[in-house]
Amino acid sequence: MTPQHIPALEVLPASESSGPQLDRRDFLKLLGGGVLVCLVPSAAMPQESGRTFGGHELPKEISAWLHIAADSRVTVFTGKVEVGQNIRTSLAQSVAEELRVAFDSITMVMGDTDLVPWDAGTFGSRTTPTMTPILRAMAAAARELLVEMAARRWNVAAATLTAADGKIVHAQGARSLTYGELTRGEKLVKIVTAQEALTPAREWKIAGTPVPKVGARDFVTGRHKFPSDIVRPGMLYGAILRPEGFNALLESLDSAAAEKLPGVQVIREGNFVGVVAPDDYTAHHALAAIDARWKVPPQPSNQGLFDYLKSHPESGENDAPLHVAGSVAQAMDTAPIKMEEQYTVQYIAHAPLEPRAAVAEWQNGKLTVWTGTQRPFGVRDQLMEEFHLASHQVRVIQPDMGSGYGGKHTGDPALEAAHLAKVAGKPVKLVWTRQEEFTWAYFRPAGLMEIRAAADHNGKLIAWEHHNYNSGPSALTTPYTVPNQLVQYHPSQSPLRQGSYRALAATANNFAREAHMDRLAHAAGIDPLEFRLKNLDETRLRAVLQAAADKFGWGHVPSTPERGFGIACGTDKGGYVATCAAVEIGDGGKQVRIRRVVQAWESGAIVNPDGLRNQLAGSMIQAIGGALFEQIRFANGRILNPHFAEYRVPRFSDMPEIEIVLVNRKDLPSAGAGEIGIIGLAPAVANALFAATGMRLSHMPMTPHGYLPSPPS
């Protein structure tokens, strides 16, 4: 595709260049001179070649764009968001690599629906495998374009030119021009497809290195503005009246006392009741002054939860098995080693340290919302639907937020703040309390896993049947080689609102599978590592399993009643993980401490080893909570432990010694690494607990009361 010259455009005066009134059209003008590279998926490639984009909306199918300014600064626009997983840094590394510029000449603009191309959201470990190649292709195309421009300018063959350090260089440095100089302030647009030749990982100089987190300084000085830190001129503070329980009906409401407080407005739209006030203190006092009566219907509780999930299938769902091979029933009939067991996981909360928050502002019919979400465009859609607005009338801005772990996909506070702001006629800030966060967000699904499996005399698996009720189908199929299989997911009617959580159901399914593998290994009288290797043909998983075992010194020291060792592995979304854990049993057999964890990891070519280690260690620590003590307790539509005092999450004192082994496969494409590092710990710990105590704990959390059950006498 040849670049197209577009007519020079007026640059907006600075006074109009910021603030919520800015839309994408203005923004493109603001970019000023330079090169704008847009990437479209090849199928959607526009056919006409004379198309210009100056002053017009770019086509919808564009998935990213990149701008090189006259001063050589590079700005990259993507709908992905930074939530602590470090993609603001790792994406910029990949762009710098392909563009041959210094890392710090790149600015990433992320998660602002007026400025960036549409994106489904940041979840499912998709950024590295999908967005990284897109940005790299764009950067490579931009580099090629600059080479062509220089070749024309100097009237030499493009092959005699190289791109390095933000310059196009001719004949080993005889002459050179910076990228900015080359564009001469002209406006050039180039549309490319994702088919550029990319620099192989073996030749990476910036990607693949431990570049420190971008903007770390702003976090350690408190300068970074999180969503809940945003302030707008004339802003009011909001608070929402929450029902006494789920599915409650408002029977009566007396808000007279609240309305007497200075500056307070009570806003009611059906069951939605909120207040706004000049300050946060008054808003919450006003809320407390409202006398509301609710009728809460009787609802299920943790008691009997798993029977409930099994007996309440989601109707109308496809109930076909995920995978069938041979006949499990026949194989089970004659097998010498058989094992059948139920495993459970409870609902848990994401509990991001920054609760959900939003600031909403209406101006001349346009709604702008600053909010913490993993799906800015999804939230924009919700707002468009709720308020009957067109896409250009809603802007969602996502400042780098206090994380989400899969818990911030929906726009609840954005909708609430927008309602309040609309009626109040002023910008409104809404920050959920910790109790609201624990109650009115959604949860990681609870689930029941039923596994029956069999092995032959040699310890070869011959049958595997795995049913998952409610928690989900992720990593449900076994990575082991088994001739007879039946694997099925059964969606249930969940008594609690549930949704995504880091690694989804891979944690639950891997916990059940790897604990079951351990049982079979013991029944067969084979070392758990050997048993796994015997049944595993998947070479990438074998490699991490062996790497973790070697580093851990697996098999060197036998378990004792005071110290047990366990091993587990698993794979999903292109990540391969193996985990060895050492647990210590103290206090006369009651206390569990995870003392040491070795985790080996492989997800293709490593983009940033430091960021990767940070993610893996964080995953393992977060996994301790779900493995040992995190659990939402609920009854009759109420959450019984909506505080950190009652919902225990991992702390410094829970931290084991952690060792990470990275397997760098430069020959393989990079996969995401923010999620799957969480799935190895729980089964490794369960298996270590068995090795020490002889007890099989088949439920997550394993020690909900903080101590081990007494062994059966």
């Binding site: 470090n86 300084r217 350690v220 999180f226 920054e354 937020m401 964080g618 505080h643 702390r651």
Partner: protein
């Protein structure tokens, strides 16, 4: 509404607030000092930590009326002339953050620890920091950052005998 004169980060600031409003709310919502974070409002997470006369304090638990005469330091008041303190520097160097929401509380808690115990051992760090939550699980790096800060600090302040 009562009127208070607060000494924050070396400045004296007038603020009007109800006497039982928390210091955290006053800092964040009336003074636009948003470095102290709301994480729970119940003393459970340490995201709201500030130093009051050098003592790490949960600003979500203390009413504004109780801090009138005290010297308050928030994350915005650490470091001078754009220079990071050794603790801040160490957090950057060790990459001791992911989302960074716990960071200001962690930095202040660690700052107080190192004032009391310039060379803390692993156990001392864990014990001192245990009330501060990091949901991203960056604990090992925070411990490493505190250890690095201790070394940076020791380098910055020459031992007594070396000073004239």
């Amino acid at each position: 509404m009562a009127h208070y004169l607060l000494h924050i980060n070396g400045a004296s600031l007038h603020v009007a607030a109800p006497s039982d409003e928390t210091l955290l709310s006053v800092l964040r919502n009336r003074l636009d000092l948003t470095g102290a974070k709301y994480g729970c409002g119940e003393g459970q997470c340490g995201a709201c930590t500030v130093l009051i006369d050098g003592v790490p304090t949960r600003s979500c638990l203390i009413p504004v009326s109780a801090v009138g005469g005290a010297k308050i330091v928030t994350i915005e008041g650490l470091g001078q002339d754009g220079q990071l303190t050794p603790v801040q520097q160490a957090f950057v160097e060790e990459g001791a953050l992911q989302c960074g929401y716990c960071t200001s509380g962690m930095v202040l808690r660690a700052t107080a620890l190192l004032r009391e115990t310039p060379q803390p051992g692993h156990e001392q760090i864990v014990h001192a920091m245990d009330g501060n939550l990091c949901r991203c699980g960056t604990y090992p790096r925070i411990v490493a950052a505190v250890q690095l800060a201790a070394r940076l600090q020791a380098r910055a302040v020459p031992p007594e005998g070396a000073r004239r």
